[in-house]
Symmetry: C2
Amino acid sequence: MSADHPASTNPTAANPTAAVLVIGNEILSGRTKDANLPHLGETLAAAGIPVREARVVPDVEAEIIDAVNALRAKHSYVFTTGGIGPTHDDITSECVAKAFGVALELNPDAVARLEAHYAAGQLNEARLRMARIPAGATLVDNPISAAPGYRIGNVFVMAGVPNIMRAMLDGVLPALQGGPPVHARTVSCELAEGTIAAELGALQDRYGDLEIGSYPYFRAGYFGVSLVLRGTDEARLDAATAELADIVRRLGGTPTVTLGAKG
Amino acid sequence: MSADHPASTNPTAANPTAAVLVIGNEILSGRTKDANLPHLGETLAAAGIPVREARVVPDVEAEIIDAVNALRAKHSYVFTTGGIGPTHDDITSECVAKAFGVALELNPDAVARLEAHYAAGQLNEARLRMARIPAGATLVDNPISAAPGYRIGNVFVMAGVPNIMRAMLDGVLPALQGGPPVHARTVSCELAEGTIAAELGALQDRYGDLEIGSYPYFRAGYFGVSLVLRGTDEARLDAATAELADIVRRLGGTPTVTLGAKG
């Protein structure tokens, strides 16, 4: 995408954007590899809500509050992951409540969900922390381990454990107002990036409504490049893809064209 | 770590911090899973420069400039990854030059490295873009594909391809001013997080100089939790680890203690 593409950073009702806020020391220390951003990025783009920014912050109150407020002012939707469990380092809900300037309250519906989930005597004080929800929030179902996420304003507070986060996302997707879905095509070939760069840049200039990215790879002993075209208009996408395949052939390569961005 | 731990956000000469800026649409779309943040996080923590923040921004000039300037003002070191190749979507160097308010110049040393790397006639205009370096920057070696990274101020501009990024990092590590290395211990057990949460929080209160995190897992059919202790004082770390193992036993669990954070 050209650097000044107008749709890329300014969300509108017709072209919403999302931001992801990953919360947790374990991601910054390298102990845990984040798996939520890729899933959110793919799923939300397909729903017409491209993720345009992500941040990773530690379990530090001021950092979380600042990031929540910066991102919710800038994007149509914000998805936080992590920090809503029962231990002392789970401080996301305190921070989100402070970011919105509302009280953090024991939510009766959330308590009822935990009571139904845990065996008698198991719902201790630590686990009850997971039922403290910012005032005015709407709960998000957790079909796996009961403790809910929630939505407040344009912010969705989700679990960090990937299978729980995915289940929560599946539950909230129908309520989101998406723009036109973003489609992708990939042209892969064994040409070097530097060989095709000039023609690729000229193609991007001719198709300013599409986003064209160049991703080199080394696979099974061969260097090559995957050229990914994205856009909402499939006819334009197909036209640019055909032109690009011709360019690859003209430069002596053998293009492999696939639907989607994974080729 | 407690939310107000003083060392966690404010870098000092004795306790430097790092930030990572991942640049690229492909990370936000979910096409590519970032592999650089975990490596930077682990490597820099071992060098006494914990990563305390990360951001992912698209290939959009204003976003990159804003992020570079926000992060370099806040942290001892910033490491950017991505966007320094030969194609039209590689705009990191233009943006870094603008962030620092300096010219982007064809760097003779960088040109010489590319000339030595490419066969006669292969160093075309697109590839020469990789020798455009902000004025005043110092080159960072790329032992794999020649096109250098660079350091300007406290910002290191690195490749996005993981093996090249790692090689560049290996080259710059000796020049960094690290604080005391951060060590880690892990106590794993099959107790639920909610069972151990109260005692774990009390342990964190007693060891405010350590950072204690709780990471639930589901492995080979069993739920459990990895409790990770981090700090620079190994005697304190060992004392807290021994206390935590006792807590696990008292609660009916079987602790497995390992060095490092991966247990």
